[in-house]
Amino acid sequence: MREELKGEKILGLMPADWRYDLLKIPVLGAVLRSRWTVLIGIIVNLFMFAVILTAGWGGTVIGNRNFAIVIIWIVWWSALMMVMVPFASRVWCSACPLPAPAEWIQRLTITGTRGKLPGTLGKKWPKALRNMWLVNFVFMGTAIFSGMITTRPWATAYLLGGIIVLSIIASLIWEKRSFCRYLCPVGGFLGLYSNFASLEIRRSDNAVCKDHKRKECFLGSEEGYGCPWMEAPFDMERNTYCGMCFECLRSCSLNNMAVNLRPWGTDLLVDKKRGLDESWKAFIMLGCAGLYSAIMLGPWGFLKDAANIKTWSSFGIFSVLFFGAILAGFPLLYGAFAWLAAKLGAAATTSRPAVGAHAAGSEAAAEAGLPSFKKVYLDYSYTLVPMGLMGWIAFSFAILFPNISYALPVISDPFGWGWNLLGTADFPWTPFLTGIVPYLQIPTLILGLLFSIDFAVKIGRKLYPNPRAAGRSVTPVILFLAMVTIVLSWLFMG
């Protein structure tokens, strides 16, 4: 347990260092340790994705009658954002069937374990790209076509098919799950938002890991592979790159790994391995939540048309605005508030030379014991994570409730060919509890705001040990968070 969590309480209620190891429940422990648990999950999802790809390439072109569109963009997306990420971290990654063939090719086995991975060149991923930047650009490159991908079954099928092909190619060149970690467009935001999740895999006892020289969780053992995600589970502090595959539970011969329930968001307080790549991922996701709400839920037809590529010229303008607003406009706007936060924090510091030092630059600021502007910008950016996730959950309410009834016809007639497998093919579109959607969305956003403010205050205290400076510094950040909440509320409420 990291020192910075001790004594902290999340939202003033939950002790940040509280943990409960689910492996203490004997049945659950056996289930999670079994290789078959993950494999069965993959097999079930493989079946689903076989139907999805068939529907995408061969089914009806009408999205809301096609299994691919309805299951991926209504059911799966909502389940991912509303349930899996907040409650179970990257558990989807463990059962995702898309990179599974690549992993089997690397290992040349499906159910077995082996020390070396013979089916791959096993190259190390380039050092300069060991971050989220590439994922950010891949995600943005995909997101710009979201109007098409979420409505055209063939586009969804090409996206998923592309992920399978790319993951296989990547697996033949680079070691382990390099694709999932550094290229998958879904993996980036799952990683960032999983830091908020109420589940984690961590070592049980620091001392045991310290004395254990073999580091089986990283290098592998007869019972399990070394971490496929190239993490060092014996020293893992954040969920970002933990694929929840439970491999370390199997490989650790000392049974020193735990699957912990924990309060939400404690990883966001861990001042380790933070980076601007993750900050930008937070900007991208929150920006996309706002823009998608405007496009898909808002009354602006011209936006829908532009995103839907009605004409290439309107799509071109839309693309420039989309990229500009998310990659530059939003980070700059946040930057202005972060600059104010740094300025106020320095001004509230008692010694006058310190204020001047901050103005003189990061080296002078460091000498005066002040955090640099970059550090202030970076650390406070993690407060956008709870708000972003809650923004997506609120957005998903508006997608799920009006559209979930489409799931009944498509499970009976997945390809729109006139089948009626379960007798539900003629179930009419029935918007479900749409009247209460805003009453779910607004509390969700407010909850996100409360979490974000709570983390902002805690991060502020770490940046500025002086309580007065911390209080001053966090004020503009809270203002920014409140502003974002108001904008999102306006988009949802209309």
Partner: protein
């Protein structure tokens, strides 16, 4: 002779039960190949074999109208007409033949079994205003 886990491990460093590995591999292949092949085989071969079938995809006239726009049938033989709209709501009516398919909703497959009782050539058309060029939304049924 079936390889044992121990033998395989000694050779390759692999710890695996070969029979289990083969069964799982077969299951995975059955799913990933069986689902698409099975679906298309059933749709393209099994269903049409049960009854003569007319597979019709309907667009606005601007995008192609009825495809096919000429249907051939035999007097007294039941035909299954499977109609799918890929844009807006259409209908298919042939008043002289007594054929009437109400609302062909986009994305929903509309199926009608029909037995022509007279021979001849009969016009059919869309009876729902579906686009500015809706009056051109026509075709022909030839009953032999």
């Amino acid at each position: 002779m079936m390889a044992t886990a121990k033998a395989v491990k000694a050779k390759t460093g692999l710890k695996v039960s070969v029979p289990v590995e083969i069964i799982v591999l077969l299951v995975l292949l059955a799913i990933s190949i069986g689902v698409p092949v099975g679906a298309f085989y059933y749709e393209d071969t099994v269903r049409p074999a049960q009854m003569p079938t007319v597979d019709m995809v309907v667009h606005r006239v601007e995008d192609g109208g009825f495809k096919p726009n000429e249907i051939r049938m035999k007097k007294g033989e039941t035909v299954r007409i499977i109609a799918r709209s890929e844009d807006v709501v259409h209908t298919l009516v042939a008043p002289d033949l007594g054929l009437f398919i109400p609302e062909i909703y986009p994305g929903k497959t509309t199926i009608l079994e029909f037995t022509p009782e007279q021979t001849g050539t009969f016009p059919f058309m869309c009876a729902t205003w579906c686009s500015p060029m809706h009056p051109g939304m026509t075709g022909t049924i030839v009953v032999e």
